[in-house]
């Protein structure tokens, strides 16, 4: 009779003890030191509103602040927190967002930032002046107007409620510029750097390096911890690995491949720490819906059934940048499909023998002869396109298809896709924040990125419905339907494997948390060196 009372007492005591134990590995940040990192590519211009490459973000994000940003300590990269926004309120009808702008934030030239600057920057993003382009305009079609009623308040009014608006605003590309400069010359930021970020610009030597130094007037007192940083541009991946291994560089913020990680771990032992995460990038296979026999959904279904994704994941994750078997959202994020549900979709089942038999049967039914030959076009990039291509061809060989791979040089690849000059081709999808509104628009029938040219009003309808669903559970349900239609019922596209991000870095680099996107968490204000 006494046991029922003991159990809760024991539990409470255990909990108290656990909370009293020191939290693992949260040492106190140490100030000082220069972070040296390598970047595989270089920024062509300096204005984030007009560029699209991570080669811009990695060396330059530390110079700027954004209105909102993704929580730098959150591994899923899906939690918006304020950067220049101290707090915010959302109206009941979800149409008005009011942001309180921090006081005491200074630009690197000494002038103070007000909501006016935020408004001017967003005006530039939403309605760029003539001759200036904005690559993110299309992401904000829901916004009706932006205003700065006073120096400390920034107000956004929407045309219709949008569940992802906050996360959308946390885009790493929405740097806040100085209104006065924009008014005088909207092109100024294409060639100059001047923001409110934790680091000031020192120099950029083309083809060589980028240097930033600590901003002593940064609004977050005590930060940044680093004295400065140096980004070195190295395009050859073996040279990047050698740099980290020789301890000349401390980290590369995009990703290394698994064998590179293994060689670093073996060489440096305790001096190396490795962070890994599923990546907000996946390779899909696009099938041209207007070319025979891929206009027949049985053939498309056969192609996806042939893939042993789980065995492929095991093997390929050892040699290239892929790992998880996933659907339309990165595993581990709020809207990802749980594995038990995923298994029900075509090609995601565990019984590969059964799947392949079914695939062969479907091909026969559709009139595709055994040994049927077609060309699979792939992009000329070593990771993970080439290994995935080799794997795909071998998988399709096992259902009696004779596939030849044609590799198109990376620069010529996108025009080829747009022209529709393919039967089956490798497609790719990369996002900077895991959010269905940002990851899925390409599957809409009239999207520029709908290379397979499918026309499906059901998909279009499901997509717009999920965007307006403000209840998360309701939204999940619609997304499941969307996924089923896309990958199972119609097989408009097929996902191969989710990319996997592997960032080995010198163990002395602390305060940086990996997220699914290599565009996030690069402001370096939270990073410190333990020696």
């Amino acid at each position: 009779m006494r046991r029922p009372i003991l159990v809760p007492i024991v539990l409470v005591v255990a909990l108290l003890l656990a909370s009293a134990l020191p939290a693992p590995a949260q040492d106190k940040p140490r100030s000082g030191g220069e972070l040296v990192f390598v970047v595989p590519s270089e920024p062509p211009g300096y204005d984030a509103h007009q560029e699209e490459t991570f080669g811009l973000i990695h060396p330059m994000a530390p110079h700027y602040s954004t209105l909102l940003r993704v929580d730098p300590f959150d591994k899923t990269g899906t939690k918006p927190v304020g950067d220049l926004a101290e707090s915010w309120t959302i109206s009941k009808d979800q149409l008005t967002y009011t942001f309180k702008i921090r006081k005491g934030v200074k630009f690197h030239d000494g002038s103070e930032l007000t909501a006016k600057d935020v408004k001017a920057s967003y005006d530039k993003i939403l309605n760029p002046p003539a001759g200036v382009k904005s690559l993110r305009k299309v992401a904000y079609t829901a916004i009706a107007s932006v205003d700065a009623p006073d120096a400390g308040a920034f107000v956004i009014k929407l045309k219709y409620p949008e569940a992802s608006m906050l996360l959308n605003l946390a885009s790493p590309w929405n740097w806040i510029y100085k209104a006065d400069i924009l008014a005088k010359d909207p092109h100024w930021y294409e060639k100059n750097v001047m923001g409110t970020g934790a680091f000031k610009f020192v120099e950029h030597v083309k083809g060589s390096h980028w240097v930033g130094k600590k901003n002593p007037d940064y609004w977050d007192k005590g930060k940044p911890y680093l004295d400065g940083y140096r980004a070195i541009f190295i395009s050859n991946s073996a040279a990047q690995v050698a740099a980290v291994r020789g301890e000349r560089a401390m980290i590369q913020f995009r990703s290394f491949s698994p064998p590179e990680r293994d060689s670093l771990v073996q060489a440096l032992g305790p001096k190396i720490a490795v962070q890994e995460s599923a990546w907000d990038c996946a390779n899909l296979v696009a099938m041209h819906h207007e070319k025979k026999p891929f206009d027949d959904k049985r053939v498309r279904r056969a192609l996806t059934l042939a893939l042993d994704r789980y065995a492929g994941s095991q093997a390929l994750s050892k040699i290239t940048l892929v790992k998880d078997v996933a659907g339309i959202q990165v595993p581990g994020t709020p809207y990802a499909t749980p594995p038990a549900e995923l298994e029900k979709l075509a090609g995601y089942g565990h019984d590969i023998a059964k799947n392949r038999a079914e695939a062969k049967r479907l091909l026969k039914e559709a009139g595709v002869p055994d040994g049927f030959a077609f060309t699979f076009k792939n992009r000329g990039i070593p990771h993970p396109y080439e290994p995935l291509g080799i794997w795909l061809i071998d998988q399709w060989r096992q259902i009696g298809l004779n596939v030849k791979m044609e590799v198109i040089e990376a620069s010529a690849y996108h025009p080829m896709l747009k022209r529709g000059d393919f039967e089956v081709a490798m497609d790719f999808q990369c996002g900077f924040i895991v959010e269905p509104d940002l990851d899925l628009p390409r599957f809409v029938s009239n999207s520029d990125a709908n290379f397979g040219r499918h026309k499906d009003t059901v998909i279009d309808d499901l997509f717009s419905r999920q965007g307006r669903a403000t209840d998360p559970d309701e939204r999940k349900k619609i997304l499941r339907q969307f996924e089923k239609r896309l990958l199972d019922e119609e097989v408009h596209v097929m996902y191969t494997l989710q990319w996997h991000r592997v960032v080995p870095h010198l163990a002395k680099v602390k305060g940086w948390t990996i997220t699914p996107s290599h565009y996030l968490n690069n402001q370096l204000d939270t990073v410190w060196l333990s020696e």
């Binding site: 305009k137 083309k206 083809g207 060589s208 050859n236 040279a239 690849y413 996108h414 025009p415 080829m416």
Partner: protein, 317 residues
């Protein structure tokens, strides 16, 4: 002879023009353009109006002959325009990389010559002995290895055996000579070794030819010291073809060693070439090709002068 030289000089111009024209047309045939590449990025899709706007800004919407005319008139004024990828003036893009490639070319050539001349002379003097074979095997081995393989092996050995890595960032020689040389000596050795092979062979066969000449036999018969013979008679005449080869190799080296630069991570012209092609940066590519072809053509021309001056026995059409 003057007439010949003037004629050769004038002939350089149509060649340069031809190179310009071929480059201009060739790169525009390759599918893909700089605007799409820059703004499509990782996501693979960008609004059409943005593409059109940018193309108009760079001048890609004009007809090809119009673009060519605009460019070639600029070139005549030595204004190569601005890079289509970054918008910066071409010379800004090139100058640092060119300095590095030039220095590497000079260093590699020095290494090649330092290897080739003594080895070639030695092999010629000891023709058909094991020394001759050893020299030939050594130099041909250098020609046979893939340059990137050699580079990868070198870097791996440095890392694993010596736990040392050359500096990653280029510092010009006048800023910090030690660091500069520490970075460039390794690729210079790798490249120099490769290029010494042809020069060694040239030196050897040239020496052989000259050693058979009558006047050398007479000199030997007179009892002059071998060294004297070598240095005064033989070597001077042997120099001609060797000089040709060395100069031509140097001109090739200016073109940038694409693979070597990748492996040793050198910020040189070769890497810039690859990037320019990948980016479809027409103006930069055109300027680079003109630079390299120009260097080659000029070196060729200088060689012609040297030949005509050094050996009046040679007749040209």
């Amino acid at each position: 002879m003057h007439k010949y030289l003037v004629k050769r000089f004038l002939l350089m111009l149509p060649t340069l023009f031809g190179v310009a024209l071929v480059t201009f047309l060739l790169i525009r045939v390759i599918p893909g353009d700089v605007v799409e590449l820059r703004y499509a990025g990782d996501r693979g899709a960008v609004a059409q109006e943005i593409l059109d706007q940018e193309r108009a800004r760079i001048g890609l919407d004009k007809p090809v002959w119009h673009q060519f005319l605009a460019w070639i008139t600029g070139v005549a004024r030595l204004d190569f325009g601005t890079s289509m990828w970054t918008g910066a003036p071409i010379w800004d893009e090139i100058k640092l990389r060119f300095t590095l490639s030039l220095q590497l070319a000079v260093m590699a050539t020095l290494v090649a010559v330092a290897l080739a001349i003594p080895l070639g002379v030695l092999a010629a003097l000891k023709q058909d002995t094991w020394i001759d074979y050893a020299v030939r095997i050594f130099s041909i081995a250098g020609l046979s290895m893939p340059s990137f393989w050699l580079g990868i092996v070198m870097i791996l050995v440095m890392l694993v055996a010596f736990k040392w890595l050359p500096p990653m960032v280029y510092t010009p020689f006048w800023v910090n000579p030690v660091q500069n040389l520490a970075q460039l000596i390794w690729p210079a050795l790798a490249v120099g070794y490769r290029y010494s092979a042809v020069a060694t062979r040239m030196t050897r066969s040239a020496m052989l030819e000259v050693l058979r000449e009558d006047y050398i036999r007479t000199a030997r018969a007179k009892g002059l010291m071998q060294k004297l013979i070598l240095s005064r008679h033989a070597l001077k005449n042997a120099m001609l073809p060797v000089l040709t080869v060395v100069a031509l190799e140097f001109a090739f080296l200016i073109g940038g060693l694409v693979v070597t630069e990748q492996v040793f991570n050198l910020n040189g012209i070769g890497l810039l070439f690859v990037q320019a092609v990948a980016h479809r940066d027409y103006t930069l590519l055109q300027a680079l090709v003109m630079l390299v072809a120009g260097a080659f053509i000029i070196v060729n021309f200088l060689m012609d002068i040297a030949y005509a001056w050094l050996d009046p026995r040679i007749k040209y059409r």
